[in-house]
């Protein structure tokens, strides 16, 4: 197997861009949130500083090997999703290592990070980690159901599990986007996306006031740095996934960033408006409206 080094370089560059984009986006969103709360808010570049500071912590503790590996798993999961997803439609170099079965791979790669993190946090031995994880996993199971149905609907519509081909099928104007051609699936996926982003009303997993931020309670320093890196990459990657699936993909970086930002703003907006669900409220919620919508969506194909 020959390795296309130039493509690898482009992929790493893309990763770098996405990391920066993710950090800035996070800062921007915090800033916007602050403005909504009539505050000025932190600087846009604050996430960078936090990241540097965390990597610069002088002392650390470790609870064991798995504690160590947790963030690694998590970051591999995030980077993996990025790596297996095409960024720009029609570009060879920006298609990363995507291949024709990538939606399934991406969906399952999300679990990879989650499980690794769950295990790492559990080795920390803090009860709040356990509680947070059990909540997170519980919620996640039901979030994925409407999302998967929507993805299957899209895959059936385009007769492919390949993101590239799904994007190809959406070219030619806004009316060709899947959100327009199959609105039910699209809406279901967007509702599920709220849960995937774990923003309020679905942020009971990390509920800072109740179980001090849940799973990563024990994480600090470099570990936390890795998690923050992952968050930047993962959230952007997931937004790009949504863009590719339902919003016609992107043919250049500007389009990609604009679209993914808009998609990303959706959970932020919802989170600012709605209060938090308990876990036993959010689970049935996902199994009601989003599920029904996605089932309609799949039969509309």
């Amino acid at each position: 197997m020959s390795i296309d080094w130039i493509k690898l370089l482009f992929t790493l560059l893309g990763l770098f861009i996405v990391l920066n984009y993710g950090l800035l986006q996070y800062g921007l969103i915090r800033r916007i949130t602050a403005r909504i709360g009539k505050r000025i808010g932190m600087p846009v570049y604050q996430p960078y500083i936090d990241l540097v500071k965390n990597y610069a912590m002088r002392s650390q503790i470790t609870h064991g090997v798995m504690f160590y590996l947790g963030p690694v798993f998590r970051l591999v999961g995030g980077v993996g999703i990025f790596m297996f997803m095409p960024l720009i439609y029609g570009s060879y170099y920006w298609s990363n290592y995507s291949f024709a079965g990538d939606v399934i791979l991406i969906m399952y790669f999300m679990f990879f990070g989650m499980l690794g993190m769950a295990l790492g946090a559990s080795e920390g031995g803090h009860p709040y980690s356990f509680i947070g994880i059990s909540r997170g996993l519980s919620q996640f199971t039901t979030v994925e159901v409407p999302f998967t149905l929507a993805v299957i609907a899209v895959a059936v519509q385009h007769h492919s599990f390949s993101l590239t081909e799904i994007v190809a099928g959406q070219q030619g104007g806004i009316m060709h986007w899947n959100i327009m051609t199959n609105p039910f699936a699209g809406i279901a996926a967007m509702l599920a996306f709220l849960g995937m982003m774990m923003a309020s009303p679905f942020n009971v997993v990390q509920a800072p006031q109740e179980i001090p931020i849940g799973p990563p309670t024990e994480y600090h320093g470099t570990y936390l740095g890795l998690l923050q890196t992952n968050r930047a990459i993962l959230y952007v990657s997931e937004s790009i996934l949504m863009v590719n699936l339902f919003f016609g993909g992107a043919t250049n970086w500007v389009e990609l960033i604009v679209k993914s930002f808009c998609v990303f703003f959706w959970p932020v907006f919802v989170g600012l408006v709605f209060p938090r669900f308990r876990i036993d409220q959010s689970i049935p919620w996902f199994l009601k409206i989003p599920l029904i919508l996605s089932i309609i969506g799949i039969f509309m194909v």
Binding site: A34, I40, G41, P43, V52, K53, E218, H220
Partner: protein, 220 residues
């Protein structure tokens, strides 16, 4: 006269449990449950430029442990409101000591609270800073002769910034943040290393006032 016996915590005395094969296993809680390593001094980076850069980052990203002590804690919450908005200065609240850099002792510390404060302080990672609010932390303030309140926080943990007042208003606290930032940027805020270097003194002070010392010497 009856001796003042030190309080013995039944949960921290040795006990015997029966293992799966019927063998006796003696558990010494302090030994077995807690890491008994003492804190080490962590030297700053040799390369000055890195250290300066990191210190800048530390100064601009102050994560505060949300541990309210004394009456001053009521003054902390306005910091997050639109009127004062501490976020502007890179100050954020963190719910867990592991991720926090700054511990704010927001007022008098009763002996009981001191114990908790020490624990939380020790659970924070190097570099870590302490900001003390109000006169109570400086000299005991109105509790100067209380039987159950410490007078001078400095004896028990290294304090980077005192914010005077009873209580200091949020503006004063914001000013305290600025002062702390300056200290950090100047590389003077080495409280954690100070604590490690003078560990025995601090510990002796702490143990003198805390009678029921039912915890390991250093809470990692």
């Amino acid at each position: 006269m009856e001796d003042k016996k030190t309080f013995i915590d039944p949960d921290l005395t040795k006990r015997t449990v029966i293992g799966p094969n019927g063998e006796d296993i003696t558990v010494d809680p302090i030994q077995d449950y807690f890491c008994d390593a003492l804190p080490k001094k962590h030297e700053p980076k040799r390369a000055k430029i890195f250290e300066n850069f990191f210190n800048w980052a530390r100064a601009e990203s102050i994560w505060v442990l949300g541990f309210g002590t004394g009456c001053g804690s009521i003054e902390l919450y306005p910091l997050l409101t639109p009127r004062f908005d501490a976020y502007r200065f890179g100050v954020q609240m963190r719910p867990t000591p592991r991720q926090a850099n700054l511990m704010i002792i927001s007022g008098y510390l009763s002996v009981k609270t001191l114990k908790r404060a020490i624990r939380s302080y020790e659970q924070m990672q190097n570099p870590k800073f302490v900001m003390a609010l109000g006169s109570c932390t400086i000299n005991g303030g109105m509790y100067f002769d209380s039987y159950n309140t410490i007078n001078r926080l400095d004896k028990y943990m290294p304090v980077d910034v005192y914010v005077a007042g009873c209580m200091p208003r949020p503006e004063a606290i914001l000013a305290g943040f600025e002062a702390l930032k300056k200290r950090i940027k100047a590389g003077k805020a080495e409280g954690a290393n100070l604590y490690a270097e003078n560990f025995e003194t601090y510990k002796a002070n702490q143990k003198k006032i805390i009678r029921d010392w039912n915890m390991p010497d250093y809470n990692w």
